[in-house]
């Protein structure tokens, strides 16, 4: 009889695992956003490309440097900070001065993610934290939208390369976004323009079609919780639908509400950030409804045209509470809420 002289490895069951990993999921989210990025560059030209690349590189580098400063291995390999960078870039006006892009990126990762403890511990979506700070610090720059320039690949808006801390000069026409047009002038844009994104707005907010395709890809691969965007969009549609039934002159209809501004991008790629959204299905749906209601409330009655960013940030803030209230009902037991 031969003798098996082997050292056996002991580990705890289960001895097999599913193939997916955080890095795979995050990488696929990046993939799903690439068409949106490509289209943004197509519509807004070099300026958008520079904003997106700068935003992404800034975020990735910030995380890398922060990890190194703290003597920890870098965490950029999990792709989550790449998502933050791209998303952050997609929310910015394409003519934003690059130094402001860099400042916001450092804040997004440094404050929005790293200060909270990094991946898994951040309460708020880091990309939105970065954007929210910029919105407060540079309100004019953040709400100036160029019309798609004619020679968009041959020239840059002079604002793009503005020197830090100077007041950038915006050349061309500072066009209004469909949302501000509607809010301040009462003009609602054509839904098909909105849907295809041939209209001014933030870099990546404009093409609903590509955003939906990206979302559908992730949902099909079970890498995104589709209930969240579904709840948000249905809520916005129903709420704005009811309002426009009451007074169609004062309130825009559902199709305009759904496809304008950052709603699609926010609903599909930001509100679904797993870390900041509730863990149960019921919780996710409540969270989506909350965001949807807030979006309409802020857009209709708030002081500014766009409400998606704040709606999601508030949703993020409420998530821990939702997770606390909505625990799954344990098999074979009457429902019991945790004491904490």
């Amino acid at each position: 009889m031969t003798q098996l002289a082997k050292t056996l490895t002991i580990r705890s069951s289960p001895h097999i695992r599913a193939n997916s990993g955080v890095d795979t999921i995050m990488f696929n989210v990046v993939l799903a956003m690439l068409p949106v990025c490509a289209y943004a560059v197509y519509v807004f030209g070099m300026a958008a490309l520079l904003v997106l690349v700068t935003a992404t590189l800034t975020c990735v580098l910030t995380e890398h440097v922060l990890c190194r400063i703290n003597g920890k291995p870098t965490t950029i390999g999990d792709w989550s900070v790449t998502i933050t960078g791209i998303l952050y870039g997609l929310t910015l006006p394409p003519s934003l001065p690059l130094w402001i892009v860099i400042a916001g990126g450092v804040i997004a990762v440094g404050v929005g993610k790293y200060l909270f403890g990094g991946l898994g511990y951040n309460t708020f979506n880091p990309a939105l934290v970065g954007r929210a700070v910029l919105q407060a610090a540079f309100p004019a720059a953040m709400t100036t939208w160029p019309d798609a320039p004619l020679n968009r690949f041959g020239s840059l808006p002079s604002s793009t390369l503005a020197i830090p801390l100077t007041k950038p000069v915006y050349d061309g026409v500072s066009g209004a976004t469909p949302l501000s047009d509607w809010k301040f002038n009462g003009d609602a844009a054509d839904t098909s323009d909105l849907f295809l994104g041939t209209i001014s707005g933030s870099t990546g907010e404009t093409c609903a079609l590509l955003i939906l395709i990206g979302g559908a890809y992730l949902a099909a691969r079970k890498m995104m919780n589709w209930q969240i965007p579904a709840a948000i969009l249905v809520t916005v549609a129903v709420f704005s639908g009811v309002l426009s039934l009451i007074d169609s002159d004062q309130f825009a209809g559902p199709s305009f509400m759904l496809f304008s501004g950052g709603l699609m991008l926010g609903a599909v790629f930001m509100a679904t950030d797993m870390v900041g959204s509730p863990i149960t299905h019921l919780g996710s749906i409540l969270y989506g409804i909350l965001i949807g209601v807030l979006v309409v409330l802020i857009r209709v009655w708030g002081g500014m045209p766009e409400g998606v960013m704040y709606a999601i940030l508030i949703g993020n803030a409420v998530t821990p509470q939702i997770d606390n209230w909505i625990q799954p009902r344990v098999y074979g037991s009457v429902k019991k809420r945790p004491a904490s």
Binding site: M1, T2, Q3, L4, K6, L8, T9, I10, R11, S12, S13, P14, H15, I16, R17, A18, S20, G21, V22, D23, T24, I25, D78, S80, G118, L119, G120, Y121, N225, M274, V275, S277, I279, T280, H281, S284, D323, Q327, P328, R329, V330, Y331, G332, S333, P338, A339, S340
Partner: protein, 452 residues
């Protein structure tokens, strides 16, 4: 939610759970074959949950295959029988799967023996009382062959004043790689049918439901064909899903009753028994024999001659692997299935009545699992969606990290976790959740003991 819809359309299943690759192709078509006798068989006194049996033969005794070596010590204990004709060379300590040393018989089979089996008093299911049947099962040394190893007669005993209506026979065999129940149902459907009258008589159940997963339709057909006319027996084919074979899941899927937390199927009028156990009862009791061998799947990527073998109890792992041949880079040998089975720490441990499989892995598979980077919990909810008990493994994991074990028990139902491993299987952050829960449970148990 999707499960609820399935229920509406009459598909019987439970909520949540996972779909690991079933990996049964290697052995599902291989008929059961008798395994060789090892030169030394090591038979532990205790092969089940409950009290170890009391030896009735001493060192140096010559024993016949099937002869009782140890008798039950009280109700929660079963007899042990000789797996071969030979001599008890020694009674001493032997390693168990959990790494502890337990006493056992060291039996040297006689090489020239015909290995005929000793038969004893026959029990007739038509005339015996329930108590007589339970005692016969206990003396035959039958425990749950599905892996848990709970004494079968204890499980079948319906307490005074209680009654059950349904007997569920578990042929789901949801663990990947394992095909023993599959082969038994296919090849020994008559044994199953012979065993059922004993169980019906002992439990006074009204009907029998046999649960088979849809990847074993041939087994379901074989059983259906074997049902004697007029018997209250149905065979249900369930969708493939892990952990379908867990009692709670089976009961939910088949009769739609939820077993109360901390309770038994008995509390909702159900008793679940493994199909292999039933077949064994149908084989042993009409002959008055004791359990001395069992069917085991020897498989996994590291095994060369995979198969379903009838292996004598007490056969050391080393001997099995030597006979079937293994790849050079074998790294892990799992006793049982890969989802809930335990990795063997030594090749000297032997096959017991609860061993369902010997699954060996090579560096390739174990390396893939061991080298996965662990990320922080990203609250993706995959574990919540997978847990068949509807626990919140994410919250439990975070509490475990902080050592807040009491909270895990009081607020998050840690005790209901039956360590199926679904949460750990799906977690994209590769957090060893179920390991953490085991540690937490052990700590809580210890604290309770100290408090006493």
């Amino acid at each position: 939610m999707i499960d609820a819809v399935k229920h509406l359309f009459g598909v019987k299943t439970f909520s949540h759970g996972i779909h690991p690759p079933d990996s049964k192709d290697g052995t599902r078509d291989l008929p059961i074959r008798q395994f060789a006798f090892a030169p030394l068989l090591i038979v532990p006194f205790s092969q089940h949950i409950g009290k170890p049996a009391i030896p009735v033969v001493g060192e140096g005794a010559e024993v016949t295959r099937g002869q009782m070596l140890a008798k039950p010590d009280g109700f929660m204990s079963v007899a042990i029988h000789a797996p071969a004709t030979g001599v008890i060379s020694r009674i001493g300590l032997t390693p168990a799967i959990n790494g502890k040393m337990t006493p056992g018989f060291f039996l040297k089979p006689y090489e020239a023996s015909t290995q005929e089996v000793m038969e004893g008093a026959v029990v007739d299911p038509e005339t015996a009382t329930p108590e007589e049947i339970l005692t016969a099962i206990q003396n035959a040394g039958v425990v749950g062959l599905g892996g848990a190893g709970f004494p079968t007669h204890a499980k079948l005993k319906v307490p005074e004043g209680r009654s059950i209506d349904t007997l569920i026979l578990n042929g789901a065999e949801c663990e990947p790689y394992l095909t023993t129940d599959h082969r038994v149902m296919l090849e020994h459907a008559e044994d199953v049918m012979r065993g059922i009258p004993y169980l019906l008589r002992a439990t006074r159940a009204e009907r029998v439901i046999i649960a088979v997963e849809s990847n074993k339709r041939d087994a379901a057909e074989s059983l259906r064909a074997a049902i004697p006319p007029g018997q209250p027996i149905t065979v249900e084919v369930l969708p493939v899903k892990y952990p379908q074979g867990a009692e709670k899941m089976l009961t939910s899927a088949l009769v739609g009753r939820e077993i109360p937390s901390g309770g038994l199927p008995l509390d909702v009028g159900v008793i679940c028994t493994n199909i292999g156990t039933t077949a064994e009862i149908g084989h042993l009791l009409p002959r008055g024999m004791g359990l001395y061998e069992r069917v085991i799947t020897v498989g996994g990527p590291a095994v060369k001659k995979k198969g379903n073998y009838r292996i004598p109890i007490g056969t050391p792992l080393r001997f099995i692997l030597d006979v079937v041949g293994v790849e050079d880079d074998i790294t892990t040998v799992v006793m049982g299935g890969p989802m809930m089975g335990a990795a063997a720490s030594s090749l000297d441990i032997s096959i017991t009545k609860g061993s369902t499989g010997v699954i060996a892995f090579t560096e390739r598979e174990t390396g893939r699992v061991n080298n996965q980077t662990e990320y922080p919990c990203i609250k993706c909810g995959a574990c919540v969606d997978a847990c068949p008990i509807f626990l919140n493994p994410s919250s439990l994991g975070l509490l475990a990290e902080k050592g807040r074990y009491d909270e895990m028990v009081d607020d998050f139902h840690l005790r209901d976790c039956f360590e199926c491993g679904c949460c750990t299987f799906v977690c994209p952050s590769h957090i060893p959740l179920v390991q953490k829960f085991r540690v937490a449970k052990a700590a809580v148990r210890k604290a309770a003991q100290v408090a006493k």
